[in-house]
């Protein structure tokens, strides 16, 4: 009976079971362990939806048509996808494979043609596939999140002490170190990566959600699920990952360094700063324009004080709406065939390396700077350079308090913290410029 043969239980594959369990695990981490819930709840839920057998919520019209593989539909698709198949020919698993492979490698025009044909035969895009295409495929989703983040960011501490920008630069070693790590795994023959994949994985070291999603959507869309999940997971784990590294690289005396109160920053400086950043981007790295442009736009709306209502919307209604769809869209890439392979393990492994290297380089950079500047910097604020706003800054503060109960580093750590956001956006721009 159709209902039974069409039921999930009848059709479910082991891979889907595993992925649904992984989705439930993400929900558990998000809800119970508070792992970046704003993203991991939608991602986890989207992952479950994407793996409901027969529903095809994450598939395009053509993929759904190929899944059900009616001979007449295949015949209609054969010429477009350039697969040797005559009407009436038996639909063997090999034939279905051939079609799916052809579709996977097809270019833009072929894909739209195939989807149009599938639509003619009554198949439609899955809900999550539409979300993905509109929100991530167009790259607009991560950019709007970035705009909202800009509208929530206060550059005051950075403006009070601009040299902390260098800490945000040093921490980006996490990104490129991870690329090297991926290349190493490839060299040792443990895993296979292309340079595009390696770069996309490296961006996890940016410790910045929207940047990771943006870069991987440009360089390696098939890895976006694994990359986003590990980026957000490790951002949540920052309080566990960073302290040991910070302590290992600093002496008790260094950690106890007190930093002088930050100077007050005028409203005017805060208004002009995003424009300065924008101009610098325009002059030196056009490829970072979408990311940093929207970031600066959000920040300008926040600081200029004459568009309160737009700033409020960018920080609330708009970013929330986009977050819901972005999360579900990322979840739609948590599909068995793409997620359950060695690369994902490699990505998870490399991700933690990325955070570690970034943290270490931030701390070391701070120590290096102390060799040059007159009034010393507490190296603990260097680790905040990985961004992971505001978690990393809180970690610096906490570790600082352990070393000296009267030493409040939070404000000082916010500087490198937001600098890290700019730093990884710049790194993203360079990667897209050189590889995209």
């Amino acid at each position: 009976m159709t209902l039974w043969t069409g039921s999930g239980l009848f059709n479910i594959e082991i891979g889907q079971v595993v992925m649904i369990v992984i989705g439930l695990l993400l929900l558990y981490l998000a809800i119970r362990k508070k792992f970046e819930p704003l993203l991991l709840v939608p991602i986890g839920f989207g992952g479950i939806l994407a793996n409901i057998p027969e529903a095809g919520l994450a598939l395009s019209a053509a993929e759904n048509a190929l899944h059900f593989a009616k001979p007449e539909v295949l015949a209609a698709l054969a010429s477009t996808l350039d697969v040797g198949y005559q009407a009436g020919q038996a639909v063997t698993p090999e034939v279905k494979e051939a079609f799916k492979l052809a579709f996977k490698d097809a270019g833009y025009s072929t894909v739209s043609a195939a989807n149009a044909i599938a639509s003619d035969h009554g198949y439609g895009n899955g809900m999550l596939y539409n979300f993905y295409t509109i929100v991530i495929g167009s790259t607009v989703g991560p950019l709007l999140i970035f705009m909202g983040v800009g509208a929530m960011t206060d550059f005051g501490p950075l403006l009070a002490n601009p040299k902390t920008l260098l800490l945000g630069a040093a921490a980006q070693f996490g990104i490129f170190g991870t690329v090297l790590g991926a290349a190493l795994l490839d060299w040792l023959g443990i895993l296979d990566f292309t340079i595009l994949e390696a770069a996309a994985i490296g961006i996890i070291g940016g410790a910045d959600g929207p940047t990771s999603i943006y870069v991987s959507s440009v360089l390696a869309p098939h890895l976006i699920g694994a990359i986003a999940v590990s980026a957000y997971a490790y951002m949540a784990l920052v309080p566990m990952i960073q302290p040991p590294i910070m302590k290992a690289l600093t002496t008790q005396k260094e950690r106890a360094i007190k930093m002088s109160q930050l100077r007050p920053v005028t409203k005017k400086e805060k208004i002009v700063f995003p424009i300065v950043v924008l101009v610098a981007v325009a002059l030196f790295l056009p490829d970072a324009a979408p990311l940093l442009g929207m970031f600066c736009f959000g920040n300008l709306m926040r600081e200029c004080g004459v568009v309160e209502r737009l700033s409020d919307t960018a920080q609330n209604a708009l970013i929330n709406i986009v977050t819901i769809f972005l999360g579900l869209s990322v979840g739609s890439k948590l599909m068995a065939d793409k997620f359950l392979d060695g690369q994902t393990l490699g990505i998870l492994g490399l991700g933690i390396v990325a955070f570690g290297v970034g943290t270490a380089c931030g701390v070391l950079m701070a120590k290096l700077m102390n060799a040059f500047v007159k009034e010393p910097i507490n190296p603990l604020i260097g680790s905040a350079g990985v961004s992971a706003v505001p978690m990393a800054a809180r970690v610096s503060n906490k570790v600082g308090l352990e070393a000296n109960p009267h030493n409040f580093l939070l404000m000082h750590a916010m500087g490198p913290n937001v600098a890290g956001v700019i730093g990884s956006a710049v790194a993203a721009g360079v990667m897209i410029k050189l590889l995209g």
Partner: protein
């Protein structure tokens, strides 16, 4: 050493070089900007507000900043207590 390896190294050199170059420029641009602004502009200092720049803050869609909200709550609590007796 295979090709991917060398590509990765090139990427690292170019990337970190550029990131540092860009942010160093930004340091000087910012210092200059602040100097100019503070020179030609009535100085109306205003402390940096840390409370607001958590990006994950579950701020409901209301323009009221945390401590005002805080105050409102207290005010209400107080009102109620007064209201009861």
């Amino acid at each position: 050493m295979n090709e991917l390896m060398s590509q990765a190294i090139d990427l690292m050199v170019a990337g970190m070089g550029f990131v540092f170059a860009f942010l160093i420029i930004l340091v000087f641009a910012t210092l200059l900007m602040s100097k100019l602004v503070l020179r030609f502009g009535p100085a109306e200092p205003e402390p940096a507000t840390p409370a607001r720049n958590s990006r994950a803050k579950p701020s409901a869609p209301s323009p009221v900043d945390p401590d005002t909200a805080e105050a409102i709550k207290k005010a209400i609590a107080q009102y109620r207590s007064r209201h009861k007796k």
